[in-house]
Symmetry: D3
Subunit: 158 residues, 6 copies
């Protein structure tokens, strides 16, 4: 049985993330999606909201479970007995920082990271840009799952 860990901020989860989870769920036995609790940044959506959106978005996939963490990602990987970490890759700028982090994580724990390339039609999606467009009243309904959109609208643009 192969378990993989997919960590991220998911603030909000978007269609690019969704595709990575679906790909991983199709290839491996168990996918743990883990939301990072980053105390140094004020998120747009709370940790609970982000977990609830993920749970709703992936409720139809039996082998996907949702959790959160505020430790090193490699400690979580060992705790959930993940065989490896998966990360999406969209663009060159992603690639270098992700590669650096993957090498650092391997160095400190032996935990391996594998990269899943984004479908090119979603390579422009980024949570930061989606938040910005949403805050100015732009239409992001083609970029995020239904559950994320509903929560973002309840929350409003402030």
């Amino acid at each position: 049985m192969t378990t993989v860990l997919y960590p991220g901020s998911f603030d909000p989860v978007h269609n690019g993330h969704q595709e990575i989870v679906q790909t991983a769920a199709g290839l491996f036995d168990h996918v743990v999606v883990a939301v990072v609790r980053n105390p140094s940044k004020t998120p747009f959506l709370t940790l609970d909201e982000r977990q609830e959106i993920l749970a709703e978005t992936f409720s139809h996939l039996d082998n996907v479970s949702i959790t959160s963490f505020s430790s090193l990602v490699v400690d979580l990987a060992q705790e959930v007995e993940a065989d490896f970490i998966v990360k999406g890759l969209r663009a060159v700028s992603d690639f270098e920082s992700e590669l650096q982090m993957a090498q650092m994580n391997k160095e400190i724990s032996g935990v391996q990271t594998l990269f899943i390339p984004s479908a090119s039609s979603r390579s422009f999606l980024a949570s930061r840009l989606i938040r910005e467009v949403f805050r100015f009243g732009g239409d992001v309904s083609s970029m995020v799952p239904e559950a994320a959109l509903r929560r973002m609208r309840e929350k409003g643009t402030e």
Copy 2:
């Protein structure tokens, strides 16, 4: 008649920006230079100062007009009836985030972005570095238009 929108922070406008405006003004009928009012960052120069510097710098070009905006750039593009947005491109790191933004803007509004490459002799210019050099008392007179330099000196290095 072709109208193009050139948005930016211009804090301060530098010779690389100036070249993009001159190129666009030579190729197209009307160039709208638009200063973003970004409430989340404290700028070095106020919005008014940045608009006045731009107005003075491009006063000799009849087909250049200056405005500001605090909305989505694509909303402004539609408001001023721009045929498309133009952005300068200096380096690879510019390229990826600009490409992402261009694709996002096309997705949410249909508005197209075209890129004008910087002349190589200006590819190192960046407002952030210019502000830093100026604050430490360095000489930036070869990097910014006369009007920007005068304002920056009035303001002082604090």
Copy 3:
């Protein structure tokens, strides 16, 4: 009236090229698509075939004309009285060589180049990869215009 020159090998033209021509034809008065005759490489499709495919593919666009050239691209730009050259941009690796060529072309002739970003859903398309897939019998029908596909099939995989 704005005339733009869009040069390339088009061996074969693919959907990414098609999108650039359509975008340019929507923004500007006249688009000259020019096929380079590169004597140092043996093309997959002959120069005539490539011109015929382009003519058929863009026959519905009144303001697009097709030509070929074996000179410097900036000499052709001046000959057809193009206001500037347009090139598509897909990825970082494109960007650097294109930027270098654009700066060289400006240096030797004053002719400007503007870049049109590819829609992200077509960013993986490249004539070289399409030829390779086709030669091994792969299905490229979702990647090239109808006229290119018909010609490629007539020609066979050899």
Copy 4:
């Protein structure tokens, strides 16, 4: 059971390749290492030599098998019933062409590619550079497996 396909030229296999195979063999049930027969290039080592070196290098790993192919890689993936393709990633320049190929392969067949980052200590290894150093009499013994070194020395620098 998870089967993965690891295609490449392996001319010669080097320690960076070796590490990718070992990582994949540790994570998945079966690793098929496949040497491409590229008729358009004259290789340094023949197809047979490259297969024999790989077989010897990975003889201690029960779940690694060696094959060769002259078709589309996605056809081979379906033939050997691979769940997905794995590729190593060393550097940004690798990344873009690999991403393009991964997206193309997914488009034409649905076959997914996953990337395994090279350990940073092997990121400079490349078969092309190793061949060059070897031809000029340089010492490559720290860069290739024992079996590759022995074959290369038998073959000589010509």
Copy 5:
């Protein structure tokens, strides 16, 4: 006699920095390592701590001296009569911002920058990631010099 200036934040100094200093000390007569006092960021280690760690780490190298600065780096270069500045280069993302800064520094002062590539086995090291791993209780002992590790442990993870 050749004097070179090696500026940085060194928060903390890591094995990648250490290698650059050792390389520079082996090639040139005198290496000035200079810690930047950046008033706009709260460092993990104080300026004094960072200087003490550097002094201890390089105490065995006679031709290395440690200083700090809060001016333009090119002013310091002229003050210490450095022939040029040296910087380490690990990755593409480093490269572009470092190149921009090097060109800016040459423009404002004539001071040249030379780049020393990191050994690939240390290319993933970055002070920011090391601080993060340390704060979450991860083991960074293979990444920083002894003196840095001792100070970090005295300070604790807070």
Copy 6:
């Protein structure tokens, strides 16, 4: 005394190369410019022509000497007792292959490489593009030293 080795094809030497040599000659005691004899490519200018052009171009610099080589560059470095190799860096695409080669050279011989960034106004210069422009009759007089231009004109565009 510091001796540095500057290897390259110099087919032809251009103003970007010239600047690197001048910078190195200003910083170090002795600069050995070495033309590679690459038997696998047919050069535009012969090895002798390239050496003569370099000798003429740098005849006013007492501490620059010209040689050629057909061995590993690190063997030449040891033969001429160079303290290190210098290479120019223009762009990201240069950077990765140069970094790879620098790490390989260090691995096989211990010889270090240092990089000198090109002035931004010369970052678009590349011998390959210059040859291409020249062959089509374009004006390259602003891009190459006088001695190179004269030789190229004698040779003609063929």
